[in-house]
């Protein structure tokens, strides 16, 4: 993989009159895992959505490999894999059908491996609406994990996961950053993350 870097340049966001965050600047590059910490309501999700270009900051820029993402949006999205609070799965379709429709490159063998790793192998034909919260979360995670994109942005990936899956996810994140990927996660728990990380504390 090429070396990539993501820069946040003094981001500031207001929701109506509430300041959500201000003056957030950092740079991460291939091999980094950035964790955004903060209590509920500290603006983790807003920051993550701003990084993805879904929310527009009032001030500041997000730069991918030196170029502002607003100017090269599709270029940036080719490199970005995102999982938000919502899983982005269609409940009326089966797990396999949902994963088939990855918008972007999918590594088929890798995907099978991930599905087995998350122990979803038996559920491949079941509808998402029949799965438990944890199982759908794992399905959504496996879509991100099996994508061949260098930048993963995960909002609260550990919510609803059992300890096995947390371990597995951590392993995959470890693999990803060791092969030159970049991972950004947000969490309000301290115990889950095991890999080497940079941290950003919001709401202090």
């Amino acid at each position: 993989m090429n070396r990539n870097f993501l820069q946040l340049d003094s981001l500031e966001l207001y929701r109506e009159d509430h300041l959500i965050f201000t003056d957030i600047s950092f740079q991460i590059e291939s091999g980094d895992h950035m964790v955004i910490r903060g209590v509920n309501g500290s603006g983790k999700t807003s920051l993550i959505r701003t990084i993805c270009g879904l929310t527009q900051a009032d001030k500041g820029k997000v730069l991918w490999n030196g170029a502002s993402i607003d100017e090269s949006l599709f270029n940036y999205y080719e490199q970005l894999s995102y999982l938000g609070h919502k899983n982005g799965l269609i409940p009326e379709l089966t797990l396999d059908e949902n994963l088939d429709y990855g918008i972007g490159q999918i590594d088929k063998d890798g995907q099978d491996q991930v599905i087995d790793g998350f122990r979803l192998g038996d559920l491949r034909e079941s509808l998402i609406q029949n799965l438990s919260n944890g199982e759908s979360r794992k399905t959504a995670l496996s879509r991100v994990v099996s994508s061949k994109k260098p930048l993963w942005v995960l909002d609260e990936p550990y919510a609803n996961l059992d300890s096995n899956s947390i371990n597995y996810l951590n392993n995959r994140i470890g693999d990803h950053i060791s092969t030159g990927g970049i991972v950004i996660t947000s969490t309000n728990r301290d115990d889950s993350i095991t890999t080497k990380t940079t941290e950003l504390l919001l709401g202090s």
Partner: protein
């Protein structure tokens, strides 16, 4: 498979799973259409005179009742934001969504309109004109309702607002659509209104998806 084609096929598949939504639109269409003979009487001359407006009005109300289903479910389960984050053109993906929504919500109406028109004593060539009018005007209606639905995605109770947005924008379609049917029934050449309907279809398909995709990005903000 091409991603746009894939989107189209998937959307069709999902709509088939949500068949009750399709049925709601069709039922609305039929109900509005049968209200007229039941309330104003089944005089043949009168019914054949109002078939044009009735068809267009039923199509409008049917699209009103089902238009929330274009984007709302995907907005709620998060797949809309995944769509917006794809590196493919969102305009193209939205166009596919609109097309598939048209195929599942309006094509049944076209089929049903044959039966409705026959119960209004429309026969022969005029029957074909009725079907063609519903077909053509529903393409524009779908684009307008997709835009209205996208603009009001983040509004909690968008019903009345959607109506207010949809009605003025779809007025030309209502006027020319009912004229096309009326002309053919009276026996005048109705190609004029048809040119207009076709023009509106082309305009709405060229601008609609762009505006809708833009509105979706705004609503996701």
């Amino acid at each position: 498979m091409n991603i746009y084609l894939k989107t189209f096929v998937r959307e069709i598949k999902v709509s088939m799973k949500r068949w009750s939504d399709i049925l709601t639109g069709v039922i609305m269409f039929v109900l509005v259409a049968i209200i007229f003979p039941l309330t104003v009487g089944s005089d043949q001359m009168f019914l054949i005179k109002i078939i044009g407006p009735v068809m267009l009005l039923s199509a409008l109300l049917a699209s009103l009742i089902s238009m929330q289903n274009i984007f709302k479910p995907d907005f709620l389960n998060g797949s809309l934001e995944q769509l917006a984050l794809s590196h493919h053109s969102l305009n193209g993906l939205i166009l596919m969504k609109i097309l598939s929504y048209w195929a599942t919500s309006s094509l049944p109406l076209v089929v049903v309109s044959i039966f409705i028109a026959s119960t209004y004593y429309v026969t022969g060539l005029s029957l074909g004109v009725v079907v063609a009018t519903v077909l053509l005007s529903s393409t524009t209606l779908v684009n307008i309702s997709a835009l209205a639905a996208a603009l009001t995605l983040s509004v909690r109770y968008p019903g009345a607002l959607m109506t207010l947005i949809l009605f003025p924008l779809s007025l030309p379609i209502l006027i020319f659509g009912s004229k096309a049917i009326e002309y053919s029934i009276v026996g005048i050449d109705s190609s004029g209104p048809f040119y207009f309907l076709t023009g509106m279809m082309l305009l709405s398909f060229s601008l609609g998806p762009i505006a809708t995709a833009f509105a979706i990005r705004i609503s996701l903000d």
